[in-house]
């Protein structure tokens, strides 16, 4: 493989990693704070994509540039409405119960949302490429890329990474979330409303899943079952990174993206294996993930 092909593979890898990161980081954030493995995350991704396409197709005739705010609006609406509903009415009543119940209830939510998706949007693939068409293509060594793919997606992923870091480590709200994550009892004792923190965090995590879907919608066909595929991949990323690790999620997404791209260039038959092979290799050496730490069990 010459250096030209290597650069092409790196560009492809970064673009793929950006999308994977956006979805996985929401899952990781929710687990980090609420200790909930949210299986419905895949449905939130799919709903984000479908609603973004609906908004985008509706607004494009007025002005194509309005499709960008439409993508963002769809993510927020799904985050608040669906994410908020799941946290408030499905997870909160189970607070203090066995963890497996949360897993089951989010799985049930996933199944219900999967059916709802077909009921609302049907089964025929939907495509809304307007946002992508607005941006010009760029040529790298004679190979054409869309700016959306190599500039916008990685840009949004970086902004999300640094935005989340800043929010959690430099703002009061972020400090409150971290306090609840570290010790719920103590933070409640000093007057923090832990229920509210859980709600807000879940909504942010859900919005990130929906944002991943919304940003994917101009590049991919929206089909039944798209959420199931994404949930498997984001679990692999989050587990490899160490559950709840934001920087770890970014690094793992990048590793998966780059390895996948190089594998497609060199040994394409192994493409499907990449995320899972990486996961196995990492977890064999570090069972708590790349960035995860061994937890001290409280008695």
């Amino acid at each position: 493989m010459n250096s030209t092909l290597a650069i092409l593979a790196i560009l492809d890898g970064i673009s793929y990693a950006a999308l994977v990161f956006l979805v996985s980081v929401g899952l990781s954030l929710i687990f980090g704070v609420l200790r909930v493995v949210n299986v419905a995350h895949g449905s939130l991704y799919a709903f984000g994509a479908y609603l973004a396409a609906t908004f985008s197709l509706a607004i494009a005739p007025i002005s194509p540039w309005l499709t960008y705010p439409a993508l963002l609006a769809a993510s927020i609406v799904i985050g608040i409405v669906c994410g908020g509903f799941i946290e408030r009415f499905l997870l909160r009543p189970l607070s203090g119960q066995e963890d497996v119940l949360q897993l089951l209830i989010t799985f049930a939510a996933f199944m219900i949302m999967d059916n709802l998706q077909r009921l609302i949007w049907g089964v025929q693939p939907i495509f809304a490429a307007e946002p992508l068409r607005l941006l010009p293509n760029v040529a790298v060594f004679g190979v054409s890329y869309t700016s959306y793919q190599v500039i916008l997606l990685p840009g949004v992923a970086l902004a999300t990474l640094f935005g989340l870091r800043y929010f959690l480590r430099r703002t009061l709200s972020g400090a409150v979330i971290l306090a609840v994550t570290e010790d719920r009892e103590a933070s409640t004792a000093i007057g923090i409303d832990a229920k509210r923190v859980y709600f807000v965090t879940f909504v942010i995590g859900a919005s990130l899943a929906a944002l991943g879907g919304a940003l994917a919608s101009p590049t991919t066909s929206l089909v039944p079952g798209m959420g199931a595929d994404m949930i498997v991949l984001s679990f692999a990323v989050a587990a490899t990174a160490g559950l709840g690790q934001i920087e770890g999620t970014a690094l793992t997404a990048l590793m998966i993206g780059l390895t996948r791209a190089f594998v497609i260039y060199l040994q394409p038959e192994f493409e499907v294996l990449v995320p899972y092979l990486l996961m196995v290799l990492v977890l064999l050496v570090r069972p708590f993930g790349l960035f995860g730490a061994v937890q001290v069990r409280k008695i």
């Binding site: 030209t4 054409s144 590049t219 991919t220 066909s221």
Partner: protein, 434 residues
């Protein structure tokens, strides 16, 4: 004595009408169990097919049903997974006591259900699954395929390519990584090697089924610059691949062959450029050159468009073929049973070797040696035509099924290996779009 007299009279009456004792009483309805994808990505095929089945059954019942008996449909979701599918199939056959089944879309489902149908002695029509091997490895009594299979479907597309773009030197493939993606490439590449051995295969890409992103594959193909890119993908995967390839100029750089692309044409709309070779998985197209002026054909297409919002795609016609085959078989069995309602076994006997005309394409024969349907294959190239917001097929060729289907008893791949370069020179009629 009274009793003896009565018995003698009764015996004489029965003897005078030999058919009476064999005649089945006409049922109040003819039950058909249909497996189709109602969930998952393949529901892009399964749901239109279900709509077609309901439409056809309604129309059939308005006309008095099959042999004067109305049909009643039960649907089973193929998307529910293997075990659920088999147990639901058994339930429909044994509890609902269906008279015939149409199973299935997926070759995986067919592989599971065909032996079950045989065990249960229920007549089954493989109405859409394409794996040639199912009927090549074993002889069945109760299973029939009412359409072609992957071998003639892929061979027709390859022949079209060789006839219209004979000078290509390199080819790459991007297929979904599952049974159909792999098998269709095996058929295509085996035939290609036999008829044009100098072609170099520069990339064999099998992205995951349902993959949302093909940008790496597109980059690699842009860098490799193959003369021809083949894909036998379908549904959302094909739409995504075509759009991502189009956005980055790959569709203009290489000749694209969409092996079963007919079902995506309407959805892709203006994103599908001109000059792409498209296969139809059989002899059907809503503007079929030999049928487009036929009133019944037009009425069916328009009714389907009114019901679903889209023109029929190939699974719709495959569903219609299964219904027509069933109707023809029953009519034949009733006729040979002296106008009486036939037994199940009589219907099965009548189905073998049946020729039926759907009115949507050329007639289809169920080859008696292996119960494989011999169906013509329609292939064309995309073209813009005023009045349509999607591309139509132009320079359509319709291939004769007898020429491009492997003989009964010979495995597809073995037969494809025997093809010679001269095979391409066969005469095939070509039709213009308008």
């Amino acid at each position: 004595m009274q009793f003896l007299k009565a018995a003698v009279v009764a015996g004489l009456v029965v003897a005078a009408f030999p058919g009476t004792s064999l005649a089945q009483s006409k049922p109040s309805e003819l039950k058909i169990g249909i497996t189709t994808f109602l969930s998952g990505p393949a529901s892009v095929f399964g749901v239109p097919a279900k709509a077609a089945a309901e439409m056809i059954a309604e129309d059939l019942n308005k006309k008095g049903g099959i042999g004067g008996v109305p049909v009643k449909l039960s649907f089973i979701d193929e998307g529910a997974g293997g075990e659920a599918l088999v147990s639901n199939y058994r339930r429909v056959v044994q509890d609902e006591k269906v008279d015939a089944t149409f199973a299935s879309i997926s070759s995986g489902s067919c592989t599971q259900l065909v032996p079950v149908a045989e065990d249960l002695k229920v007549m089954n029509f493989m109405w859409d699954c394409g794996a040639a091997s199912i009927l090549e490895t074993k002889k069945y009594r109760y299973n029939f395929r009412t359409q072609a299979n992957g071998t003639p479907e892929m061979l027709a597309v390859l022949l079209y390519l060789l006839k219209t773009k004979p000078d290509f030197k390199t080819i790459a493939v991007v297929n979904q990584d599952y049974a159909w993606g792999r098998e269709s490439w095996e058929i295509f590449s085996t035939a290609l090697k036999a008829m044009k051995p100098d072609v170099q295969v520069v990339a064999e890409l099998f992205p995951k089924f349902g993959a949302p992103d093909y940008s790496t594959e597109v980059s690699r193909l842009l860098a490799l610059r193959p003369d021809v890119v083949l894909t036998t993908s379908w549904g959302g995967d094909l739409d995504t691949l075509v759009r991502q390839a189009g956005q980055r100029g790959l569709l203009q750089q290489s000749t694209f062959v969409l092996g079963i692309g007919e079902s995506s044409i309407q959805r892709l709309g203006k994103d599908l450029p001109e000059g792409l070779i498209v296969g139809a998985r059989g002899d059907h197209w809503f503007l079929h050159p030999e049928k487009k002026n036929d009133a019944a054909f037009k009425a069916f297409n328009e009714a389907f468009k009114a019901k679903t919002g889209a023109w029929p795609i190939y699974p719709v016609y495959h569903m219609a073929q299964a219904f027509k085959a069933l109707q023809t078989a029953y009519d034949k069995a009733i006729k040979s049973n002296g106008g009486n309602w036939p037994t199940r076994e009589q219907v099965v006997d009548a189905t073998a070797g049946t020729e039926f005309a759907t009115g949507f394409g050329r007639p289809i024969t169920l080859r008696p040696e292996d119960n494989q349907g011999l169906e013509a294959q329609l292939v064309g190239v995309t073209k813009s035509v005023p009045g349509y917001d999607f591309k139509l097929l132009d320079n359509i060729m319709i291939f004769d099924p007898k020429t491009i289907t492997n003989p009964a008893g010979v495995r597809s791949v073995e037969w494809l290996k025997t093809l010679k370069p001269d095979f391409v020179k066969m005469d095939v009629p070509t039709f213009k779009a308008q």
